[in-house]
Symmetry: C2
Subunit: 414 residues, 2 copies
């Protein structure tokens, strides 16, 4: 799919290995019975990275989340490697923390680093004991195969019900030096806005103090991953992690100056595009849905309303049916937990096929059903909402609700 | 389906006409192009009724909601008739209030009562102009056909995507006199707990002060309709309305005494059973899902957690697939906005086919997948959750998420 960028930022290849000094790898260790599908991935940095992370806010947290948090707390936000498996979430298991720690120590041993310099993550079925043997028996092979080319192997190792791998990277200029920032992500169900909402790993060769990196990540996540909803379920294992190794030789960012803003925008562009990929590949999705809410009194209001539209099961079904049932948008705005004036709301549908106004001043307007159907037949649909009540705006991303979503989730464990 | 009752309450026929002095009717006036389907219904009481109502909390409110509220405010909670149509919600239309008022005055004229003694409701597509002519041309015929037998005509007139009509009634004893209370309801999409969550009309020949009737209704709705979720969408047009005409000759309830408690329990039983019917007939549903959360520190916690499980799209899909994916239950508990101790949670699946414990102390336990699949193959499934953290409990009702839900909602307007 098309990447959305801005002047000053160039799309580059390489995913999590786009930045200098990062290598990666992935393989099948046997957690996935299909030997052609990777299920274990690794990312490695030549040097220690300033590392920031945001985690799921679900009270039921996966053991890897707890262990990663302990590690980053112990090192003051320093890490050098990521180990991640799919097929098993290692969550709600009595031996979960023990297994997650074993994953760290096995990785550390294979790489010659400290165990608490490892970020660990798992994704898959909840409540099934994670067998450590397949990981133990393959972690050295995984480390040996680390290379800048193998970002693709790592990106495929974290896929669960994803139908395509999600990677993107940009280069930009900081203090006259070229800096790179890239990431990989997995979807594609149990995704709902509540802090981190999927597994995402971002690497950069920028140099930035860990507290500023954490601040940048939290701010950008608020308007990217947290504005994504596939099915309203907030996972137990979600994490977004950014590692900065400083190998670009660009000046270190130590305050919220112009360089910090340029860096934040790069992080936004990478996370926003990964968010769009996650929405496009939502379980069973046939269409990418963007809701752009503008004219709000503040950003919080815009975010809440845009998310409410994206989260409406009824509206998502209507989009699947290419039915311009805009009443369901008004309905979803109306039950969002924020105040706004219904009588000024304007709604339009837009896509590559055109744009049609369907509601003005909170009331329906006459429109051509034929034209609307043509607009809704596109793969990417935008719902434009103008509240006419201020200057703030926000976007949220999601997808339609289809037969395939039900099919995929009716029998996920087998 | 089987009605759940208690000692002292007897199931009786008659729906909204079970109580003395109430008649009803329904017919096709032409809003529904299928002449065999009723689309206009009426309920009438011989004498003025104390009338209480709860309304949707959606900020986008249907015009009939606004007009009913104005009427009941103007009369101090007195009403004698209900007029209700399906196929068109009369919401987000510039002339909506005018049309809703016309429905009241046409009804009043046909019945020889005051316009503000009429409760008006509409359900159907949002944002399409309601043609008043079909209603104007049929309201006299509707009034002429009022009878105690025609509760069925009224109950079918409010059906939208419902596959069966929802009616139930009970009789019970108050001060040595027999009292009757019955109701009808419609589903079956855009249903989510947020005050009233569907159209429901309840009639009784009990005599009760209007302020107590309102209190009873609000309390009972909290643990019945507000604990029902089909799809997470709170409608714009929902209303639960109770009319009490006092014709049973039972002593008037004027304080919160034993009679009040007996009345409240009757109201609970009728609304609870209607709630179960709505869940069972949720759009596309193949299974009725009940989540019973006990051992909570307070009722609010129990309600919130039970609702969160019932509302999880992923868990609903798993139930459709008859897959004992209990991890999704833990996940749904974890993202509910209340505090509880995950490490003490116990989860079991139950149905007519048996009961199986799947989680203890927040961790998975070994269980027979075969046995679990047998339990989940039943039409009605119960998820039993014990928090082991107090004495409060609550139930929530819902259904599985199926291909048919998507199909029904992909093209609802045509």
């Amino acid at each position: 799919m098309e990447i959305i960028l801005e002047a000053g930022y160039t799309s580059i290849e390489g995913g999590v290995c786009a930045a200098k000094g990062f290598t990666a790898n992935g393989l099948n260790c046997g957690l996935n019975p299909d030997p052609n599908k990777n299920d274990l991935g690794m990312i490695y940095s030549e040097t220690v990275c300033d590392t920031a992370a945001v985690y799921t806010q679900n009270k039921v947290k996966g053991a890897p989340i707890l262990v990663t948090k302990q590690n980053l707390d112990a090192t003051g936000g320093k890490a050098r490697a990521v180990i991640v498996n799919s097929k098993n979430a290692n969550t709600c298991n009595r031996d979960g923390e023990e297994k997650a720690k074993q994953m760290c120590s096995l990785t550390a041993k294979a790489l010659g680093i400290e165990a608490n310099e490892v970020v660990v993550a798992s994704t898959g079925v909840i409540g099934q004991i994670l067998p450590i043997e397949p990981i133990r028996d393959h972690v050295e092979e995984l480390a040996k195969g680390l290379s800048a080319e193998n970002h693709i192997e790592a990106a495929t190792a974290i896929m669960t019900t994803d139908t395509f791998k999600k990677e993107t990277a940009v280069s930009f200029s900081l203090g006259g030096k070229t800096v790179r920032l890239g990431g990989m992500a997995k979807g594609s169900g149990m995704i709902h806005p509540n802090m981190a909402t999927t597994l995402n790993f971002v690497t950069t060769d920028a140099a930035i103090d860990v507290n500023l990196l954490q601040k940048a990540l939290s701010e950008v996540v608020k308007v990217t991953y947290n504005c994504l909803s596939i099915d309203g379920d907030t996972s137990t294992n979600d994490m977004v992690c950014v590692m900065a190794n400083g190998l670009s030789d660009a000046p270190r960012i130590t305050e919220e100056n112009e360089d910090y803003k340029i860096f934040c925008r790069a992080l936004y562009l990478v996370l926003m595009n990964l968010t769009r990929m996650l929405a496009k590949d939502g379980e069973g999705a046939s269409k990418l849905l963007t809701c752009h809410c503008k004219g709000a009194k503040d950003q919080e209001t815009a975010i809440t309303l845009a998310k409410s539209v994206i989260g409406s099961a009824l509206f998502k079904c209507a989009v699947f049916g290419e039915d311009a049932n805009w009443g369901r948008i008004l309905c979803a705005l109306g039950y969002a937990p924020v105040d706004f004036d219904v009588d000024r709301v304007e709604v339009a549908f837009a896509s590559v096929n055109g744009r049609v106004l369907v509601c003005k001043d909170g009331f329906g307007v006459e429109f051509s059903e034929e034209e609307a159907a043509k607009i809704l037949s596109a793969d990417e649909i935008c719902v434009d909402i103008d509240l006419h009540q201020g200057d703030a705006d926000a976007k949220a991303w999601g997808c339609d609700l289809t037969y395939d979503y039900v099919k995929i989730n009716g029998d996920y464990r087998s």
